[in-house]
């Protein structure tokens, strides 16, 4: 009897695991300095992950039957940064992933120059081979740490109309990219009407600290929240909600191929502070972002 019970239990576990194991197929694994970069396919959807079976989140996904359509919600929220300033001519993206954002941006804004900084050369390789990312004379990619790149750009007095920060994930936040000093450096790269769009993962106590840190550098910012959080900050103050809606309407057709319904995203723009204003600001001297992210 005992034996049978055990056998049934094994069967039940096998059944529970089987569909998950079958649905997701590993199609490539790229060794890197930092981690293994894995590519999984689940039907038409191809994803880049840093953990086996994408257990801790997917970095990026692409629908191979409709490569233009955004699979992940946060990339749509990031694109909403164009509602703040619809025609940036120079763009900096920190963190490549599968290259979804530079690909879409170069389609919407064919005249814009796009600099991408990615720390991991293996990610660049995988993005090019499996996610249709291509460099060109307008789209350049550099392998470097985001902070090192920003400091150098600052020395060279470069200016960007839009900076996208997309270097965080569920399991690890590069702490030196979430400090007041770093945001001040980024701010100094922004042109007078420049916009910073940051994709962050904080849902924990870090949320409060991140908020006060951004507020200390940029003042009021637009906060877009769903599963992720996207912060949209402006160097020269924020455009009004009416202006946002007007800019969004102008982009409606350009965004349609990506499956972005602009009105959904306009509705998410909020400046309401929903954090503890007393939370300690993160600095180069005090930056325990990952420890704070563990706390409820």
């Amino acid at each position: 009897m005992k034996q049978l019970q055990r056998w049934l239990l094994c069967l039940a576990i096998a059944c529970a695991l089987a569909p998950a194991a079958n649905a997701q197929k590993l199609i490539h694994s790229e060794r890197s300095l930092y981690r293994e970069v894995l590519v999984y396919e689940d039907g038409p959807v191809r994803c880049m992950c840093f953990t086996r079976n994408c257990r801790i989140g997917r970095q990026t996904c692409m629908n191979m039957q409709a490569p233009n359509r955004f699979v992940m919600n946060y990339t749509k929220m990031m694109m909403a940064s164009l509602f703040m300033n619809p025609r940036p001519r120079s763009i900096l993206i920190i963190g490549l992933g599968g290259g979804t954002l530079p690909r879409a941006l170069s389609q919407v804004l064919p005249g814009a120059t796009i600099d991408v900084v990615e720390i991991d050369p293996a990610v660049v390789k995988v993005a090019e081979r499996f996610f249709a990312f291509h460099t060109s004379d307008k789209v350049r990619v550099e392998t470097a740490d985001g902070r090192v790149f920003v400091k150098r750009a600052q020395r060279e007095q470069r200016q960007y109309d839009l900076v996208m920060l997309d270097a965080f994930d569920h399991e690890y936040i590069p702490e030196h990219l979430l400090t007041r000093e770093f945001l001040e450096e980024v701010s100094s790269l922004l042109s007078p009407q420049g916009v910073l769009a940051a994709n962050t993962f904080s849902s924990s106590r870090l949320y409060d600290h991140e908020s006060t840190t951004y507020a200390a550098v940029f003042g009021t910012f637009y906060n877009l929240k769903r599963d992720n959080r996207v912060i949209l900050a402006g160097k020269g103050g924020l455009p009004s909600k009416q202006q946002i809606a007007a800019n969004a309407a102008g982009l409606e057709r350009a965004f349609a191929p990506f499956d972005i319904d602009v009105s959904n995203y306009v509705a998410m723009f909020s400046t309401r502070p929903d954090w503890d204003p007393q939370a300690r600001i993160l600095t180069d001297q005090y930056s325990p972002a990952n420890l704070l992210n563990l706390r409820e």
Binding site: I119, A144, D145, E175, H176, T283, S287
Partner: protein, 196 residues
């Protein structure tokens, strides 16, 4: 007390080295990033400085060794962290301007900031062995106990710094605290170990 002091100093020195090493990563990140080679550069310099410190500490232990001098080594190691406390950022940015490659920049930066304190910290253990060993028969036991204390201190320094200290204090506050404890211990050794 006199026999406890070398152990205490060796254990604390282990704590000090690992805490400074972890904070070193924090200090270098804004300038050189937190790529794997930045950590590689820091660990290389710490290991190199420790290895040379062992050599120097062993040599120096042959010349009229005393607990007082052991305390002095500890204090010197601590005091040599002061430039990092005061000019760390300026020094690192100056290095980055001269050596833009973050691999060699971080190697040079961590040499400038951390070589001296780690070198003196490395002197502690062999020097303490000389103070503890009375005869050949027990020399291995003392050396073993010393390794235990010093490496246990390193483990404690690593854990406390990375799990807790950085959550409550600024990097410079932690460095200041480490410095104060080292100097206090050095002073105790200087006063308590006077008669050899």
């Amino acid at each position: 007390m006199p026999i406890l002091l070398p152990y205490l100093i060796a254990g604390w020195s282990g704590f000090f080295v690992m805490s400074v090493e972890l904070l070193g990563g924090r200090l270098l990140a804004p300038t050189f990033g937190s790529s794997i080679y930045v950590w590689g550069a820091i660990i290389t310099i710490f290991m190199l400085a420790l290895s040379l410190g062992y050599l120097a500490g062993g040599r120096w232990s042959t010349r009229a060794p005393s607990v007082r001098k052991l305390g002095a080594i500890l204090a010197v190691a601590a005091v040599s962290v002061i430039p990092t406390l005061l000019f760390g950022v300026v020094l690192l940015d100056a290095v980055a301007a001269q050596v833009p490659d973050p691999r060699f920049g971080s190697l040079l930066g961590s040499t400038i900031l951390f070589f001296v304190p780690t070198f003196f910290s490395g002197m502690i253990s062999p020097y303490a062995v000389r103070l503890l060993v009375e005869e050949r028969a027990t020399s291995g036991r003392h050396a073993g106990q010393l390794y235990f204390v010093s490496t246990f201190g390193s483990a404690a320094g690593t854990l406390l710094t990375s799990f807790y200290l950085v959550l409550y204090f600024e990097v410079n506050q932690i460095l200041g605290g480490l410095l104060a404890i080292s100097i206090a211990l050095g002073l105790v050794a200087w006063l308590g170990g006077g008669k050899r």
